[in-house]
């Protein structure tokens, strides 16, 4: 059977693709910023065993790590309104991404903090720095530096996972794909283009995160040999 490829049928909907990609990137950006902040808080609470928040974060991390992203999304979108919390599809999508990324980030950052050599903390203590000063100036940046590649990967995983947000009618890139192929009946071409777009977005995001890591997390200097 000779299949006639028809890519122009997809490019007729370039506007929808661009908008969808923008929504996916936006979800990722907000999710990464808020999820990263939540995860940093969680990482500190877990590493320092701050009671009783420690237990709350432990439970939170276990629940999120051991349940599917889609179920979390459906629970937040359909479940919360039953409790009287009114939430639209955007809010539900962002909230789910933040909650999901926050849990994984908690574990990653906790590992980074716990890998801080004891001597670093003792040096800070011997200089009369208190706990908070020690964390902010001595522990945080090297810890982030250690786990930056893992954090970057997790952000990309969540970005790709955000495709399921189309299930609750968030108009992201996957939503655009479903919409386009329902109009032009060109499923192969449409999903091929969208797959390629996700691939590009992931590469772009990784480059961006690498740049942020080099610029703001790693020590500022021309050549940066491996830190001992």
């Amino acid at each position: 059977m000779a299949y006639q490829f028809d890519f122009p049928a997809v490019f007729d909907y370039t506007d929808a693709l661009v908008t969808g990609a923008g929504v996916t990137l936006g979800l990722t950006l907000v999710g990464a910023l808020l999820g990263g902040a939540l995860g940093t808080l969680g990482g500190v609470v877990r590493a320092w065993r701050i009671h009783p928040l420690d237990w709350a974060f432990r439970l939170y991390v276990e629940v999120i790590r051991n349940t599917p992203f889609l179920v979390q999304l459906l629970f937040i979108f359909f479940g919360l309104p039953s409790l009287g919390v009114q939430i639209n599809e955007w809010q539900a999508s962002i909230l789910t991404m933040v909650v999901n990324l926050g849990a994984y980030t908690t574990e990653i950052i906790r590992a980074g903090i716990e890998a801080t050599p004891r001597g670093q903390i003792e040096a800070a203590q011997s200089l009369a720095m208190n706990r908070w000063q020690t964390f902010r100036h001595v522990v945080l940046r090297p810890s982030l530096q250690r786990v930056w590649p893992a954090l970057s990967s997790q952000v990309i995983i969540v970005m790709l996972g955000s495709a399921v947000c189309s299930q609750i009618a968030t108009e992201d890139l996957t939503f655009a794909a479903n919409f386009i192929q329902s109009r032009n009946f060109r499923a192969f071409e449409t999903y091929l283009v969208v797959t390629f777009l996700y691939f590009l977005l992931a590469l772009l995001t990784r480059q961006l995160l690498n740049w942020v890591g080099r610029r703001f997390v790693a020590p500022r200097r021309p050549c940066s040999p491996e830190v001992r």
Binding site: E122, S126, A128, P219, R228
Partner: protein, 245 residues
């Protein structure tokens, strides 16, 4: 009154009784060398002096700031640590900060110095340890001896009354030991009070005012280093000296 007063200090690690009642007084300007076999409690003793190890009984007083067993609030520890500087075996420089920034961190964050004065202080301290051209170098761009000298400069920038040195040349290549010892010797000559755990017996004999020989968690011998090295009073010190020299 002595600058540092250690009275009846006990320390346990679980069932291991590491310090069994230490009494020791250090006068201003004295250089005290603590020697002994590993496991004799010398590093632990040093670490109790700035609260890195808590004590189980007894009292430590430095320049009017006292620390008792089970009475070491954050405020007391801060007050003590402002008076007691420490240099470690493994240097413990902050890897993400340059040499200059390593020195400026505590002076700005803890003492509230402004950037300008902190920078000047850091430069002066680097000059003191002979590394005035390394302000912008990062720790992994420095040799071990240079890193240790930056660590000394970092401690000195806080203007401590006492400087604790915990085997500060033990992690260095032999050819780098002398540049660090030269700095310590200069500090001693300037009247800095130094308490050092060391394996450099010659240095202890030449520069030390007092020698403390620790044995099984107690101060076993105490006195003038030249006399003790020449004529140890106990067979334990005699055998220790003959095993290391």
């Amino acid at each position: 009154m002595s600058l540092v007063d250690i009275r009846g200090v006990h320390k346990h690690f679980g069932s291991n009784h590491v310090l069994k009642g230490i009494d020791l007084a250090v006068e201003p300007g004295e250089v005290v060398a603590i020697i002994g076999r590993s496991g004799s409690g010398k590093s632990t003793l040093l670490r109790t002096l700035n609260g890195l190890e808590s004590i189980d009984a007894g009292e430590i007083e430095v320049d009017g700031t006292a620390l008792k067993a089970h009475q070491d609030s954050a405020e007391q520890l801060r007050s003590l640590r402002l008076k007691v500087g420490m240099v470690f075996q493994q240097f413990n420089l902050f890897p993400h900060l340059s040499a200059g920034e390593n020195i400026m961190l505590a002076t700005t964050v803890v003492q509230g110095m402004d950037q300008e004065s902190a920078r000047d202080t850091a430069k002066a301290m680097l000059l003191k340890v002979g590394l005035q051209d390394k302000f912008d170098a990062y720790p992994d761009q420095l040799s071990g001896g240079q890193q240790q000298r930056v660590a000394i400069a970092r401690a000195l920038a806080m203007s401590p009354r006492v400087l604790l040195c915990d085997e500060i040349t033990s992690a260095l290549d032999p050819e780098l030991v002398n540049e660090v010892l030269a700095v310590v010797k200069q500090l001693a000559a300037e009247g800095m009070t130094l308490i050092m755990v060391t394996h450099e017996m010659r240095f202890a004999r030449e520069v030390g005012d007092k020698l403390v020989f620790m044995y099984q968690g107690l101060v076993h011998e105490y006195g003038d280093p030249r006399e003790l090295f020449a004529q140890p009073r106990t067979p334990e010190l005699a055998s220790f000296i003959s095993s290391v020299m």
